[in-house]
Symmetry: C2
Subunit: 136 residues, 2 copies
DNA sequence: TTCACTGCAAATGATTTGCAAAGCA
DNA sequence: TGCTTTGCAAATCATTTGCAGTGAA
């Protein structure tokens, strides 16, 4: 979208995460991070990459998604058994899940959670997920 | 556990759900509903059934779990991609998910959720899931 | 008898893995 | 050059399906 401002910011992002900026990682990161907030599956990302003329294998897409997730650039969301979504919005927020279509959508605004009990002994909370399931 | 009170209540439960009380459905329901609140996977239930001396195929276990879920006797919980848990507690409640072990546990007490926005146009909320992920 | 239910084995679909070839530092 | 990363195809894992045989009403 921005001519004359190629990959530098994405390049930084990958480098900052300790990931070598290979051709395929750069291209995938571009699709992921230059199109606003997205909820995307591995298969979808692979398809988009091929459409964009990027030669990349599905295995590499899986690798990249997991590496990005581990590096904190993505967040994995599980709502539906047998399919993972990756969210490019890594800030604290929650989701609407459309049960019929499998469509995942950010919940606008902030949700307040009260009365949350302490984590079981010897554990600490790593994340709280709220999934509001909706149907037509 | 209760001698002299064999399957009558379970039988009723299945009949009430419009499910023919076959030998395998009765046996599986017995394992599921006579041991308090449980979070169980298909594979686990199958193993337990075999241990209890019940000849039942894994396919039938899957069928039964889905039929029970559709009938409202169970609730399916997805926390972990690639594995489904079924919860015998169908009242409104939420879960701790132990990320390392995959263990799922009820959150005691009630969680208050405020500021929940309206469901997207044309949809209605079917359920709200709160999953508190914890790690050691 | 009839139609639902079950078991088996094969099919499916998402994800992972092994390993040789190719690519970045 | 040396260590990563990639691609491919095969392997895996949970789950589903097709279909012939079995069982409940």
């Amino acid at each position: 979208m921005f001519h004359g401002r190629p990959y530098s910011h994405i390049l930084e992002r990958l480098r900052g995460a300790g990931l070598r900026p290979t051709r395929q990682r750069l291209a995938l990161a571009k699709i992921l991070f230059e199109n606003g907030d997205r909820h995307i599956s591995a298969e979808q990302l692979h398809t988009e990459a091929l459409h964009a003329g990027i030669r990349v294998s599905l295995a590499t897409v899986y690798n990249a998604l997991h590496q990005f997730t581990t590096a904190g650039l993505l967040r994995e969301i599980v709502v539906d058994s047998g399919r993972s979504y990756f969210d490019t919005n890594i800030s604290v927020h929650h989701h609407f899940f459309h049960e019929r279509s499998g469509y995942l959508e950010d919940i606008p605004g902030e949700i307040m959670i009260g009365n949350l009990p302490e984590a079981p002994a010897g554990t600490a909370i790593t994340r709280v997920d709220v999934i509001v399931r909706v149907a037509a």
